[in-house]
């Protein structure tokens, strides 16, 4: 065991490396809290990717054209891939994917609340791509410079692949917005339902966010929730205008002085309600994940059993050769 003084010294050295923008790698010494914070954040991120497959996956079989179908399939598949990269990054910190999944299935792990809202029309697929992926990109691009090497590298890959997702969504919205009255109505309705949950994706206000300060010091996080949220609104408001759709916020207005859009108050009661498991689809989402995992058990077992049989047969063959 290290003496306490050594420990303080190690922490100083660690912080100095972070301050010098050095990457921390799996076998490097790191404070226990840094490790835990990362495991929590990376696993939440990974869970969000795989739970996020569900609302969109809903529409794969109903996509209105074959072109849209392959695009959506590829997009949802990417999300599975992103979940996989992220679980992989968490595994470099000693957290096994299966244990992380167990936490999710027991309802103990968090994931992005946005995926607890239902996809009710085809326009929702457009809105998710445009708004939800737009918000996600805002969050994710800074993570490519995160201090933890494997997380940063996974995020580089994720961001590279995500670049088509938002365009895919916006193109759907654009087609609807230029379509018939029924289609415009569908698009506006989707925007109405996804706008506020998208703003909530950035998390609580800075004053309420308990992890922000430490995560910024460790360069796990590079911008605060409110900074990113503001940037999102600034970028998205003109995009909505281009579509000819109305953002459902009567306070939304460009402020010449600040150069930013002002926007109305977020309903944090709703946010906390959904976070605590009482959103419109929390139960269905968890149930679907749990079922997939449980029903996959015999498949995973069979593959392992077969691999073991083959190993033994090979070993027996090798023994014969020696004899």
């Amino acid at each position: 065991m290290k003496a306490p003084t050594d420990y303080a010294h190690l922490e100083d050295q660690f912080q100095a490396r972070i301050d010098a923008e050095e990457k921390i790698e799996p076998k490097d010494w790191m404070p226990d809290k840094y490790r835990k914070t990362l495991i929590r954040q990376i696993s939440q991120h990974a869970h969000s990717e795989i739970v996020g497959m569900l609302p969109e996956g809903n529409w794969i079989t109903r996509a209105p054209s074959l072109r849209r179908k392959v695009a959506l399939l590829a997009k949802v598949q990417d999300e599975a891939g992103h979940g996989l990269y992220l679980y992989g990054a968490a595994e470099t910190l000693g957290a096994e994917r299966d244990d992380l999944l167990d936490e999710l299935h027991r309802g103990e792990a968090k994931y992005s609340s946005i995926f607890n809202y239902p996809t009710l029309s085809w326009a929702d697929i457009g809105a998710i791509g445009w708004l939800v992926d737009g918000a996600a990109i805002m969050n994710q691009v800074p993570l490519c410079r995160c201090s933890y090497g494997p997380y940063a590298r996974a995020m580089v890959r994720v961001c590279k692949e995500e670049s088509f997702h938002q365009r895919q969504g916006y193109e759907i919205m654009l087609t609807l917005a230029r379509g018939t009255e029924a289609q415009k109505k569908m698009a506006q309705d989707a925007l109405n339902r996804w706008w506020w949950p998208s703003l909530m994706m950035f998390g609580p206000n800075d004053a309420e966010s308990k992890h922000t300060a430490q995560s910024m010091a460790w360069k796990i996080k590079r911008f605060t929730n409110d900074e990113l949220r503001q940037r999102f609104v600034d970028i998205t408001a003109p995009q909505a205008e281009f579509l000819g759709l109305t953002i459902p916020d009567e306070h939304l207005k460009y402020n010449e002085e600040t150069g930013h859009y002002g926007f109305g108050p977020i309903d944090w009661d709703e946010f906390w309600q959904v976070v605590s498991g009482e959103g419109p689809c929390n139960r269905q989402r968890l149930k679907a994940r749990r079922r997939a995992h449980e029903e996959g058990q015999w498949v995973r077992d069979a593959a392992l059993a077969h691999a073991e049989k083959r190993r033994q047969r090979q070993a027996a063959k090798n023994d014969q050769k020696v004899a």
Binding site: M53, G57, R62, A63, K69, A80, G179, Q183, A292, D301
Partner: protein, 253 residues
Amino acid sequence: MTLAEAKYQYLLRMGDNALILGHRLSEWCGHGPILEQDIAMTNIALDQVGQARSLLQYAAQLEGKGRTEDDLAYKRDVMEYRNVLLVEQPNEDFAYTIVRQFLFDAFNFLLHKSLVHSKDEHLKAIAEKSLKEITYHLRYSSEWMIRLGDGTAESHQKIQAALDDLFIYTGELLTPDAVDQAIFEAGIGPDLAALQPAYQTKIDEILQQATLQKPEVKYMQSGGKDGRMHTEYLGYILAELQFVQRAYPNMEW
């Protein structure tokens, strides 16, 4: 039946097979037994919907009525679909998915190996691209047949049960009818009957490695590819597949 009509029917069969099987596979997206397999199955689904697009585009072009791939996919009803019964069977569990895939891939592989020599240049080009994909599909489904058959007692029982249920749908794959005959005589596609031995050899080889019993079948079910009959499942597939286009007709998406 003119050759043009036979060709159109032939392309519909191939296109519908790819589309409906791709649809079934895509139902797994987000619900696979493990993340890696979710991604693998989605890849195959993407290949198949991609193939369906090329084939239906070509079919629509041959038809010459100004229809598109989407018109063919979204505006035909059950009795106008020409896929074999096998591909519309549901994902009762992962074993059914694998058996359905394997029984179809083994056929599809042989078919495409012939089609790369087709006298129809367009179909030949589609087949050349698809053959690479199908070669991988067959490898994937064969390996899973073996894993599940020669895995645990539970997996063995499940995959045998799926095989027993689905084998009755293999008959129509390689039983030629007038369309197949016309296509063969024109040098566009293979003599399906001649592919039978190779198909059975492949099935036997994999079943043997998987320690599975080939089901004794008295009667094969058929009717999908010639449009005489479908199973009830296809109606539900189309209800989902075509929902938006049917609820909001004549719009761009």
